[in-house]
Symmetry: C2
Subunit: 359 residues, 2 copies
Amino acid sequence: MAIEQLNGVRTAKAALEEYVEALLGAAGADAPSAAAVARSVVDASSRGVDTHGVRLVPWYLQMIEGGRINGRPVLGFEKKAAAVGHVDADNGFGHLASYRAIEEGIALAKEAGVAAITVGRSSHHGASGVYALAAARQGFAAISMTHADPAVVPFGGKKPFFGTNPLAFAVPAPGEEPMLLDMATSAIPYNRIFLRRATGTPLPAEVAVDAEGHPTRDPHAATAVRPLGGADFGYKGAGLASMVDILCSAFTGMGHGATIDPLAGSDYSKTIPIGHFFLVMNPSIFQAFAAFDARVGAFLADLRRQPAHPGQTVMAPGDVEKAEAARRAEAGIPVDAVTWAALEAAAGRYGKAVPQSWT
Amino acid sequence: MAIEQLNGVRTAKAALEEYVEALLGAAGADAPSAAAVARSVVDASSRGVDTHGVRLVPWYLQMIEGGRINGRPVLGFEKKAAAVGHVDADNGFGHLASYRAIEEGIALAKEAGVAAITVGRSSHHGASGVYALAAARQGFAAISMTHADPAVVPFGGKKPFFGTNPLAFAVPAPGEEPMLLDMATSAIPYNRIFLRRATGTPLPAEVAVDAEGHPTRDPHAATAVRPLGGADFGYKGAGLASMVDILCSAFTGMGHGATIDPLAGSDYSKTIPIGHFFLVMNPSIFQAFAAFDARVGAFLADLRRQPAHPGQTVMAPGDVEKAEAARRAEAGIPVDAVTWAALEAAAGRYGKAVPQSWT
């Protein structure tokens, strides 16, 4: 990950989580909100998902300081049927509402076998995968989705219409962390443009477009990304983005992505409500858990032993992040210099102590 | 679609469906099985999905004649929880079991709001999208998936491991046919190799590989396809394929895709059981249906009016097929010459009348 080249710092996971939590608390988040955001971004950073990790914290601080995010939300939950529930996020952090949705989904899926939980009046929730992972760490399989403001051009189109609309799927795996697929339905996550601006490295070909909708590899010229599948097969990524958008809007009561104001806009006082969609499944209702577990294990083992081209290895979804998590557990979690400086500035503002770091 | 260049015939939808049904019945399928297969393949052909349309019927006839497919299955259904059910396909046609799964899913989702229906001991079910579409035509949203025998190399790998593992999503839309996303998680459907062999046209670049796992555009040299995302981002398609495989195996009680014998192999006497996974959602439990419907309508209208590059139009998932369905409703459904000859040969074998065709 290019983040290592940024002359930033490395911190221990617990210290980093505590630091982030303290900063959010000082900025006006109540204890559950601050804990949920810190848990989410540090989980992402601990697995190498830096685009959706601690890098987002200065932005979250801006949003709560500006008043866009309600730091003391009163979450609502309505059970709508045996297998459907809705969480009202009360314009608080999406992280809090999303962890709540997973807990409610588990509670319903225990009995019903599967549960769909929608979230409305929410906000950016970081990496969608952390919520699916939270369910899978408790023995449940889960799908997690969010829509967002436009950043992705439709197939054949010139102007952003879709959010990067991630789709995540996690399933418990025997003897290891759950298998986790966590992918933007865009060719790349939009956040990667910012990361590439920070690292000064060009974008891959055919994944981003400039203001006129033409392909560009310059992260400073790039204003939007293409759907997964690119120039030839982008209708598939756009189709997945459409599915995510509809599940996160028509099913949650929110407007579709293209009606959402820019989340990175300059006015941080205005509320910008978005929706998320979660599906939680109880494997034990479908099959005897031991048999289920053995089948997932056999799938992973078989996939990982497949013959690969020279210099490559066949990996299962999430294997890259598992390896990185092991490295970071040893070496600490790297935080890039720009983010670290912003966190230090916030700590200064709030009078909070900066934790000890490796470098 | 290249199928028009094949000097085949055009037939009316009802006549074609009746013909296919009669042939399957003559080959040994009972009335519900013959009707389900005919309904499925003619629905696909009527919308231009020729890879999964009537072209498959000679193959299905081979499988029932050989004894692989049980033409007179006794389907089992077990409700496992308020929102989970399992259909045992009794080694019959996957089409019959899949339509049954959708009906059971609708019955459960009416009360529970959402229902997951797994199918085990099944077989090839044609186009996965037709089952999601069947639910959406009744006012329900649905996801449909199937795994299959290996045809797709893993990201970085040389040997097929995944089936093309399609993912379909359908949702009711106001004043028109449902929105339908129906995509292989591979770069292209494996059937397209056969269609390109028949039409003698090269494959798109970077989507297929030869026996050594190297990219090829020659449909005769191609033995496997790549996951969606190709050389750079194929880990996403492979991740989606993994999700589909696990939902269709660990959740259904079947083995994962790589344990499935070749469906197109030479021995048509041997049963090759596979699994499918369906999720049915009742929009009215999530939101007032009028509001839900209006949101889906607003999404589609907004998407379709997006500015496009010269010569292109921004379309919603399934719009290409809707336009083709309108043309075929007028002009008849084209059947390529190779398929037509095979159907005529079967009709001769079984002593069935060949329906009148346009050309």
